[in-house]
């Protein structure tokens, strides 16, 4: 199985702070992979560096065989990586449909002349784009009557869904989701879990997830990588990560690992 995304020694420093520390990371093509770690571990910075928002201090990033280092964010998106943001960054004063259509920007070709002339090609492209946008909204479960609401007026869960639809509109091969279930209740989380699976299964898109909801992570991931203070401390299958001492200590503090073992020995389930 090939790796759609591979970083070697990826490092990002901000002045004296090393936010991402020499991370070797790979995402298998077609998989659902999770990136976890305590707050401040550098996960979002990692995403930002991969997508071109930050320039890496050192290291390489390979996506489907080509290097992403030095590319601007819009070039990374055009190359096939879509993303959502930790704190939803929708275009608040645009409607849901328009938000999704913005996502299609890099896949559309209308230029100034064509727009001014209102050529048949441009009109056709617009109509197709609009239809596709509606279809995407439908696919993520946004109610049809909300399609023309301003995105800032949408309920929180719908906003998260909309962000995913917008990311899908960029026609990605790899989808980066940054804490997609933050602030969601268990039912919404379950729906989102299903959605993520459907996206991978039906559209053959590889998914890389940053998440804090461990239940979701354990349930859905085929591979988990753990960052702590910028460095990768573990990578592997869910059950391996769950019982990994370093990981437990990263989250719960030193000594927590032995407590967890004691707890398990006594027949309890570590949660």
């Amino acid at each position: 199985m090939t790796n759609i995304l591979e970083t070697r020694g990826l490092t990002k420093r901000f002045g004296g702070l090393t936010a991402v520390d020499s991370v070797d990371f790979s995402v298998a093509t077609g998989s659902i992979t999770s990136l976890i770690g305590p707050n401040g571990a550098g996960k979002t910075t990692f995403f930002n560096t991969v997508t071109g928002l930050y320039t890496p201090t050192s290291g390489t990033i390979a996506f489907a065989g080509r290097s992403l280092v030095g590319l601007k964010p819009h070039e990374v998106t055009a190359a096939g990586i879509g993303r959502t943001f930790q704190n939803i960054r929708l275009f608040g004063n645009m409607t849901a449909v328009e938000n999704v259509m913005v996502g299609m920007h890099s896949r559309m070709h209308a230029n100034v002349l064509g727009i001014l002339a209102h050529s048949a090609r441009v009109q056709h492209e617009e109509a197709t784009a609009r239809a596709k946008a509606h279809a995407l909204l439908d696919a993520v479960g946004l109610p049809a009557q909300r399609a023309d609401d301003l995105s800032k007026n949408l309920p929180y869960g719908d906003q998260r869904r909309l962000e995913i639809a917008r990311a899908l509109a960029t026609d990605p091969e790899l989808l980066l989701l940054d804490e997609p279930t933050a602030g969601m209740n268990p039912q919404e989380t379950a729906e989102l879990t299903q959605l993520i699976r459907r996206i991978r299964d039906e559209r053959a898109i590889t998914i890389l997830l940053i998440e804090h909801d461990m239940k979701l992570v354990m349930e859905i991931s085929e591979s988990i990588t753990v960052l702590d203070r910028g460095a990768k401390i573990a990578a592997g299958l869910p059950h391996e990560i769950r019982s990994n001492e370093q990981v437990i200590e990263a989250y719960l503090g030193r000594g927590a690992a032995s407590m967890a073992h004691a707890h398990a020995r006594n027949g309890g389930e570590p949660t």
Partner: protein
């Protein structure tokens, strides 16, 4: 499998092409004139020194105004567009007081001296209060919300209001003003020559008048006072803390609104002082003098590193010298363009300025 994407072309590197073109342009067309300029400077050193001294005086008044920009920007990240016009209002206010006190070149120094000090302090109080009120009534309301554009636009509006104020001021002919204003709003108003114009360096071929000394001297005193205030006093520390991190400062018990007001007060006071000094030095004031002064001072503040107090002083000196040299060796018609060109170059190539840290620009 998702549709395979065409390889993203690297695209034409416009930025690099642009930069190379600019360098070529400069080399081809600007080197010779620059060399000519340098030769002219060397050929007549007395002239050069005279210009440098003029630059020093310029630098003094520009630094005073620049400090206002930098203090306000450092603390609320607002370019106070109206700041240059405070300088102009300071000039008008001081002129009015000069009229009220009936100061003339014949007034004996025993009276003139203290009264001038009174005028200076009153002017500073006036512009300080004005600046603080503008902040309180306009800018503060726009502070909570995310975008800075609203505050900037209202600053532009206030600038125009101030200019109009200066325009109308020029009409006032109340009897107690003793005729310092005129009947034509747009015409420059004359100050009586209250600063002695004696050349202190007479005989050396170089000119540095008593009035230059006064301007530079007062400026240095004010700048030093400000520096001490900001670095040594508690209120000054509160200002610096608020500039660094407003929320943390609030959590530490600092009254953020009052501290911000303080920045406006101090900045305003300095601008007013500058206006009075320049008015008396040049002997003239006109309602739109704030624009040029504002542009130069803002460039000075950015050159030194916006938000950095010593930077504003250094920038002021540099811009003062540069504008004096440009006036002499290029032409006064082009000096504004030169200063502005420097501004653009700094903002594009080194937005943090000479002494600044990364407060200036972030993606």
């Amino acid at each position: 499998m998702a549709t395979s994407h065409p390889r993203v072309a690297q695209g034409v590197p416009w930025r690099s092409i642009g930069k190379i073109l600019i360098v070529i342009f400069c080399v081809l067309f600007l080197t010779l004139p620059l060399i000519e300029m340098v030769k002219a400077m060397i050929a007549d050193p007395q002239l050069l020194v005279r210009q440098l001294l003029i630059g020093l005086t310029n630098g003094a008044y520009i630094a005073l105004i620049a400090l206002g920009y930098t203090l306000v920007y450092g603390i609320v990240e607002l370019i106070n567009f109206a700041h240059g016009d405070l300088y102009m209002l300071g000039a008008f206010f001081s002129l009015t007081l000069v009229g009220v006190f009936s100061l003339t070149p014949e007034t004996p120094w025993l009276i003139r001296g203290p009264l001038l000090v009174v005028v200076l302090l009153a002017t500073m109080a006036f512009t300080a209060t004005l600046n603080m009120l503008v902040d309180r009534w306009a800018y503060r309301r726009l502070r909570g919300i995310g975008s800075r554009m609203a505050a900037l636009i209202s600053a532009i509006g206030i600038s125009f209001v101030f200019q109009n104020l200066g325009l109308l001021w020029g009409y006032l002919r109340f009897p107690f003003m003793n005729g310092v204003m005129g009947s034509n709003a747009v015409a420059p108003k004359s100050f009586p020559a209250l600063f002695p114009n004696v050349n202190l360096l007479a005989g050396t071929g170089v000119r540095f008048g008593a009035k230059d000394l006064i301007v530079v001297g007062v400026s240095v005193v004010l700048l030093a006072a400000l520096y001490v205030f900001v670095t040594r006093t508690r209120l000054g520390k509160a200002m610096r803390a608020t500039a660094q991190d407003r929320d943390a400062a609030a959590l530490m018990g600092i009254d953020v609104n009052r501290t911000i007001s303080l920045a406006f007060i101090l900045g305003g006071a300095l601008a007013g002082a500058s206006g009075m000094l320049v008015g008396l030095y040049n002997g003239t004031a006109v309602f739109d003098m704030g624009f040029t002064a504002g542009l130069r001072s803002f460039t000075a503040a950015v050159l030194g590193g916006i938000g950095n107090i010593v930077g504003a002083m250094l920038g002021g000196l540099l811009i003062g010298i540069i504008s004096a040299l440009s006036d002499q060796y290029i032409s006064t018609k082009w000096t504004n363009a030169v200063v502005f060109g420097i501004l653009v170059i700094i903002l594009v190539y080194r937005p943090t300025g000479l002494l600044g840290d990364d407060t200036a620009q972030k993606a």
